[in-house]
Amino acid sequence: MSHSTTGKTLNLKLRVWRQKDNASRGEFRDYALVGISTEMSFLEMLDILNEQLLQQGEEPVNFDHDCREGICGTCSLMINGQAHGPDNGTTTCQLHMRRFHDGQMITIEPWRAKAFPVIRDLVVDRSAFDRIIQAGGYVSVRTGQAPEANSVPISKNDQESALDAAVCIGCGACVASCKNASAMLFVAAKVSHLAQLPQGAPERAARVLGMVGQMDSEEFGNCTNTSECEAACPAGVSVTHIARLNREYAKALYGSPLGLKGELLTSSGTGGD
């Protein structure tokens, strides 16, 4: 059966993580797919797999997705050991089958991290991220309390740089790609976004202490300094924001950005390689 109207087709071997629920043990199962169009997205390929499984009387593979255009952060697959697959700056839903070759074996797993328990198959629980934001990732302004929008000018550079951090889609690929399952890049993105804007300034210290404290209590690991997170991040959030997080943290603790030479969070414990 061919699903293509134009372009090439592929035959593939899939090795997919199946797990009934959080309490059960999971296992890999192998499936074969034929006639996959190179124009399909990766998730459309999984749609075809699921249709096939249904016809064979096996339960379809559950996986998280929603927007299918790279912005909601819902999709979350380890593809051949890489978070969101082989392309840089790309979510799983934006990955296309033209990136794979005929006969290829593709291994698909959920995010693996203690703080992201598996719910079923490829679906994990990322509510820890919401709790980190609850611990300070906001500006405390009441509805209706805001001053005229142009009353506080913000330089284009500051705004652009804040937006470079604010683009985080909260997907968790940084955690999944880190061998310590650290959430530093995610936390840094929010701290850096708000620290660079005048509106975020009054709560800077409380914010960074709160968010880092929550991150630690959610059992995310320490930063390895290997920048695997940046490489996996589909939104292009840079590790320079981790440097800013460290400065913010030191300043909050010791009232000075040079507190512990900014090393406080970057390399405790295991260290990088």
């Binding site: 929603d66 790279g70 033209r98 500006v139 509805t143 805001a146 976004h193």
Partner: protein
């Protein structure tokens, strides 16, 4: 077909001049004292711009808010995907904008099928929205001097659209989400993620809670409250292929409809002119290329039908910039319905491009030449990136190919000026209601409406409801909750037990094809009747032959989809009936029988200057059509003209 100018539909618009209506509502409304607010529970279903803004604001006022979404985090609501921007009448460009002009543009853009008083209030509140978002740290684009930047959107002649690159919705939603998380931390809001609302519970005719499914455990849960706010988004996915996120659905609205909420103008759907064309039958969704691209991109097709040449081989003189040709005053910036129909017209006449011949060019070469590639990258970088990811073509070097796709639904649950539905105590906000956009929405005004509803309207009108109605104590132990939960459980059980041959997805695709062919960009009576027949038999087949595998007691995505598609199969028929009954063309609703000599939409203000609101009368009975007459006292009725 019966139609009633109904007493059910009391719009409760305050009297007086349009500029003073909202103030006069606020003057007369009842308040709940700060210390009493914690005694009231409010349910907010949905965490898009409308829901997150409402939940955060109501919790901040001191009400106990329970907030629900089907995604794993409220931050992932479909609003996140909005690209282009949000309108506000700030007149920062000094180009003659005003609250009045935004009001007029919106009424006119909606082809005179919206309620004037609501639209005026929306325009008034637009300014507060920008202030609020900036204060939350939303990094809107700025000028070098540090002030806020604007761009132009379709259907207007001023620059009033605020934006954050091509991801405005993301930044606005993150702002609202963070405000909501602050309330969760403070204890006034409780978050219920991965929950799907399956039904509304009314007690003595008043909305008092919901029944939902915990999507992780499969457990059916009951939640009681003193008010219920539906902020559950639009129903564009009835077409299967749309620019909406895969999870967007009509279930919450449809279930509330079946409990007594009238459904307004279901046939009004927006087909967006600039989307990436369909490539094959595997396609699971369509991707929007923001309308803001029309600021710098020019739309064209070859002058010669079936031209085999690549775009670069076609010299300037042999290109037909048909929007600029047909609509010199607005050019590429005509409203969406006009641009979409013009693209379809060219393709139907054989001038389409690409392998399917179902696309037109959107060309940036002139803008890149004049402004440089870096400037274009700065404005639209993420959109160009997305285009290249999907099509494997580089839009900096050759023009994009685009075609219209289903995008937004102007129809929705009928609400009055308070945003309250025909069920007392149930409010409907954002895309889920029918209110402000008439028969066609202008770009960048859905975000504005969602946030106006959530931050600045519902907090007042919901308070008024709580303060002025006697609401006896009701908990989830009330027998109505048990009954409704049992019905929901039975429905799921029925889906699971059919054990037929066809997947839910295959039914959804087939329904979508029917809707697109007969109730899409253009409609006629014969086609709509055909569609109603086809949907009826598809629905019957679904309940005999669908295969929903697995069990109800854990995460089961097939079951989630099954419930949603079952509701779409009922709702699609109502859309067609509404389109059939509206014998005129207005905005996005184009009836082939009603067009001018040069193929423009022809309204019939004598017979159809009204809202159609449908009442559910029980299984197997045709719904009853009610009407709310619309009057245009302040923005007089006129023929839309973008030439």
């Amino acid at each position: 077909m019966s139609s009633d100018s109904s007493t059910l539909l009391n719009s409760r618009v305050p009297g007086g001049p349009i500029e003073q209506k909202w103030d006069s509502f606020k003057r007369d409304q009842k308040l709940v004292a700060p210390n009493s607010r914690r005694k009231y529970e409010v349910i907010v279903v949905g965490t898009g711009l409308a829901g997150a803004a409402a939940a955060a604001s109501l919790a901040e006022m001191g009400y106990k808010v329970k907030v629900f979404c089907f995604q794993d985090s409220p931050r992932r609501a479909h609003s996140i995907a909005a690209q282009g921007g949000i309108n506000a009448a700030k007149n920062y460009h000094n180009d003659g904008d005003s609250v009045w002009r935004l009001f007029v543009d919106t009424v006119k853009g909606g082809d005179f099928r919206a309620r004037e008083a609501n639209v005026y209030r929306l325009a008034q509140l637009s300014e507060n929205i920008i202030d609020q978002c900036v204060a939350q740290g939303v990094p809107f684009a700025r000028e070098y001097g540090g002030t806020l930047a604007n761009r132009t959107f379709g259907g207007t002649q001023v620059s009033r659209t605020f934006y954050a690159r091509g991801q405005t919705g993301q930044q606005l939603l993150i702002g609202a989400y963070q405000a909501l998380m602050r309330q969760v931390a403070g204890g006034n809001a409780t978050l219920y993620a991965r929950r799907e609302m399956l039904d509304l519970v009314t007690v003595d005719g008043v909305a008092r809670g919901i029944v939902c499914r915990n999507l992780t455990t499969g457990k059916i849960e009951s939640h009681a409250a003193h008010a219920v706010l539906l902020c559950t988004g639009g129903y564009g996915n009835v077409f299967y292929l749309s620019t909406n996120a895969k999870g967007c659905n009509v279930t919450a609205a449809w279930r509330a409809h079946k409990r007594g909420a009238l459904f307004g103008n279901p046939c009004y759907t927006q087909i967006h002119p600039t989307c990436i064309p369909v490539t094959g039958d595997h396609q699971s969704k369509l991707t929007l290329m923001s309308e803001s691209l029309r600021n710098d991109g020019r739309v064209w097709v070859p002058k010669q039908a079936n031209d085999p040449r690549t775009p670069s081989q076609i010299p300037e003189g042999e290109r037909d910039y048909y929007l600029e040709r047909r609509y010199p005053a607005y050019g590429n910036m005509v409203p969406r319905d006009v641009a979409s129909r013009a693209a379809k017209e060219r393709c139907d006449a054989g001038y389409g491009v690409g392998s399917s011949k179902l696309s037109v060019y959107l060309d940036f070469s002139r803008a890149i030449k004049e402004q440089g590639e870096a400037a274009i990258r700065g404005k639209y970088g993420n959109l160009f990136h997305m285009y290249q990811k999907i099509t494997d073509e580089n839009p900096y070097q050759s023009p994009m190919r685009i075609y219209p796709a289903v995008h937004y639904t102007m129809g929705g649950l009928w609400v009055d000026y308070h945003l309250e539905s025909t069920i007392p105590g149930m409010f409907v906000l954002g895309e889920a209601n029918f209110s402000d956009h008439g028969a066609n929405r202008l770009g960048a005004s859905a975000l504005m409406q969602g946030l106006a509803d959530g931050y600045f309207i519902a907090p007042y009108t919901v308070s008024n409801h709580l303060a002025s109605r006697k609401l006896p104590e009701v908990t989830d132990a009330h027998p109505r909750f048990r009954e409704v939960a049992e019905e929901a459980r039975m429905r799921l059980q029925r889906l699971l037990s059919i054990d037929g041959k066809r997947s839910v997805d295959s039914y959804h695709r087939e329904l979508g094809q029917i809707m697109w062919n007969y109730c899409g960009m253009s409609r006629n009576a014969a086609g709509l009747n055909t569609a109603i027949g086809k949907i009826t038999s598809l629905r019957e087949d679904f309940w005999r032959n669908v295969n929903v595998p697995g069990v109800g007691e854990n995460l089961n995505q097939s079951l989630e989809l099954g419930g949603r598609v079952a509701d779409f199969l009922e709702f699609g028929e109502l859309m067609c009936r509404d389109a059939l009954a509206r014998e005129e063309s207005a905005g996005g609703h184009f009836r082939e029988e009603h067009q001018t000599a040069d193929n423009e939409a022809k309204r019939d203000d004598e017979k159809f200057a009204h809202v159609a609101a449908w009442e559910y009368l029980g299984e197997g009975t045709q719904e009853k059509r009610h009407v709310e007459p619309l009057t245009f006292e302040f923005c007089p009725l006129q023929v839309r003209n973008y030439k």
